[in-house]
């Protein structure tokens, strides 16, 4: 029971975090903030995924989380490198 409620709490927190990230992505004045917000969004999404697996008692969703962690990093670096160098694989 307590786990259910705490899971729901965590769900809500991360979902709200997602919304805040989205807000920042769209309305930030700075590209750095947008990249940052997208990175956070990846991580918050990952958290939601893990929470979902926890709530369902399933391990099926683990790979997705793993991939999100990896790909969030790659895309953040790619976006940042684009700003820094233009060519991201020079």
């Amino acid at each position: 029971m307590i786990i259910t409620y705490s899971t729901l709490f965590a769900f809500t927190c991360f979902a709200l975090a997602l919304l805040m990230n989205l807000w920042k992505i769209i309305f930030a004045a700075e590209i750095a903030d947008r990249i940052l917000a997208l990175d956070s969004m990846f991580i918050n999404g990952l958290a939601l995924m893990v929470l979902y697996g926890l709530a369902l008692g399933s391990e099926i969703y683990f790979e997705a989380s793993l991939i999100i962690a990896m790909l969030g990093f790659v895309s953040t670096v790619a976006y940042a490198r684009f700003i820094l160098r233009g060519n991201i694989i020079e």
Binding site: L22, L38, L71, L84, G86
Partner: protein, 963 residues
Amino acid sequence: MSLFLIAALPFLGAVFPALLIRAGRNASASAAGLTTFLAFVGLLLHAPAVFRGEVIQVGVDWLPGLGLNANFFLDGLGFLFAAMILGIGLLVILYARFYLSREDPMGQFYTYLLLFQGAMVGIVLSDNILLLLVFWELTSLSSFLLIGYWKHLPEGRQGARMALAVTGSGGLAMIGGMMILGNIAGSYDLSVILQHKDMIQASPLYLPALILILLGCFTKSAQFPFHFWLPHAMAAPTPVSAYLHSATMVKAGLFLMARLWPVLAGTPEWFYIVATTGLITMFLGAVIALFKDDLKALLAFSTVSHLGLITMLLGFGTKIAAVTAVFHIINHATFKAALFMSAGIVDHEAHTRDIKRLGGLRHLMPVTATIAIVAALSMAGIPPFNGFLSKEMMLEETVHTLWGGSHYVVPGLALLAALFSAAYSFRFIGHVFLGRTRDDYPAQPHDPGFGMWAGPGLLMMLVVLIGLFSANLAGPLVAVAAGAVIGGADLPYYSLKLWHGLTPALYMSAGAVVGGLVLLKLHAPLMAAWNRAPRPEAKQIFDALMRGLTKLSQLITDGLHNGAITRYAFVMMLFIIGLSYYAYASGTLSLPSRTVQSVGPITVIAWFCLMVATLAVVAKHRQRQLSLVLIGVVGLVVSLGFNYLSAPDLALTQLSVEVVTMVLLLLALNFMPKDSPVESPLWVRLRDGGIAMIAGLGAATLIYMLMLRDFAMPSISEFHLANSYKGGGGTNVVNVILVDFRGYDTFGEIIVLGIAALVIYALTEAVLGTRVRAYLLNRKPDIPQAGDAHPMMMVVATRVMMPLALMVAAYIFFRGHNLPGGGFIAGLIAAIALLMQYMASGFSWASERQRMFYHGTIGSGVLIAAATGLGSWFSGLPFLTSAFGYLHWAPLEEFEWATAALFDLGVFLAVVGAVLLALESLARFAWQPGISSEHAMDINPARDHAAEEAAAEAAAAAAKGEA
């Protein structure tokens, strides 16, 4: 000789002149002459039978399903025409040998001529109207080549195109008419059709068929109002004119009217259309001919007039008129061919054919003058020449013909036509050959060699002989031919002779001759009046029409296909939406059979993120990098959604594909503008938005309604769920479907990837082979670059992250058959792992360290997948049949093996190769001198330190050495 051979000989012969021209002009001409001669002899061999009234028939099936058979038959009419075509053809070949100059490609000429001749022979021998159509259109095409033979003359190609346009369109109309005719009669065989007069004339489709067929005949035979093309065809060399206008091309229409006379003629429709057209043409042609200064133009319009005459006769629909028509066909062929050839000789010798610049030639070229004068007198209807005979018979017929209740219309106009006809004939004689000898010819004319005048000379003999001994000489031929025209019925009474007594026709003839002389006398003032009179110039009208048509076509074509894919796509959407909506609205929809499933707030928040991000992409699409970030959000949420909705494989795939795509787009964006300008006006944006919303609404409604209903029958995927483990050896049903149940799809899919990489590679080669390369080399970055291209921390992190990522790839690969994953995702992750390395230390640095042969990787992936599929052949099983089993090696536990894993390896390799090849291509675009760094990271104090120490040591050593 078989009719097949007769019809085929000219076509076979057409090959030789073009080939033999290298052996000389004589060889070429002889080849042409010989084949024609052979065909002519072959034809004559049938003469006895034909004159006995027999009909020779041969045939084979060609396209029996359609009723198109290669059936030929030879009756009197066919014989007459074939004889004219081949006989005059021979003379033309002879004549042309001497007429054409050295510069003219003679081989081509004879080839075209024989093609044309073959087509004509085909028309007159066909016993199947579809076959006849084949030859009919062939005459249009081959005459196009003949008329345009002198390629350097603009008049040549214009005349050729005009002839093709007019006769071609008539021919197409005729196709329609013939199809109708065949459908009424139930057969396309002429011999059958000719039996069904009543059925055809009673059919409601008789009139359309008649009009369409007549359109073909009239255009071909230059009947009013289609007569205008014929004079322009005079741009052709004179032998061509002689041939086309005496015996062949223009006679084809007459032939067909005669051929179908038994079933089409005799109705009021026939009479009023055909006779009236003929009458008008006859009159008009004669009048215009009088005012032509060009010899060939004069003859051309006289041809028009005489064709009108024959058409009118056929149009009368009476048997005796038909006989007269046949007789005049023969006569006209003889004198007109002789006249054209004479005119050609004049042109050839005097270098002009302008009547105003000619005169008195009888002294300079007596032989030619004799021939031309005799033929012209025949044309004028002067006894005792053959033209007189048929013309008088014609006048006689007009007297008996009522038109719209009037006795006078037909004879009156016919008389006027005869009068003008006499006048232009006299002018031809008088203004060219008679009169004072001139000394201002462009060249000094004299009679040509025998070869050139032999043909017209022979024809002149015929003109005279037929005139004198018509009953004996032409009688039998007229009889069999006319017998064929009137369809086997008994011939009416007629006699072919010069003197019929004092008939109205004689008075009319006399009147015409006198009137003709008067007109000639008055020619100068009449000509002046004619030139003053406004009249439509057919050529200009036609030209304007054609130019207009071409312009209109260009306008339509360019207007529709203006290169704007935005518009193409819009039209496409509109059409798809419209038809889909129609399909939906015209069907029936049952009530939902499933209930909706409720959702929690978290899901709604995720959905909200997706929707907002999507809208933001649209709103911010001009800021390209931002829109890429936003698409990243969309991809992330979609992946989360797939996971939420029980599709972990999809989530993995979607996410990895999205990241790789994003990287490719960023790499491409590096070279492209970073913003899109505002280009479409507001209304366009509203319009596009409107159609987009309708399409979106449609897609949403469709899937919503689909989701609320069950499958009409159980889905085949129940089988997949039930057999995935038993038959495929895997618990991840999606993967088993991909590598086993539907492995063939996956095989196609990796080939798509492989091809994509090949295309990208080829494209890169193509682009970098052009001046784009120089541009790229000199290109300055359009956003300022920061220092430290390869940060130390990134490099160090990658040294651990990349092996870990590869480990993850291996993990995803090996477990895919039973749990989410598989070769494709593993391939993408491996590629992303390498991408990490490229981002850390640069593509050049990394690829110099480890050469990857991307082509080889892709190729081996496809080959492995294919080989795995082929492996099952050895067990006698179909392509891509999988096998699996379990291995036990002590002390390890049981391993599962599956050929599907090998197949998946192919997938893996293809994916890795494809992604990396794309990355490599983009790296090549970006390559600039100095881009490749020597070190993995730009900043490395340890390296500097070591270098300093080494330098210090070296300095110390050097110092020691010095010491």
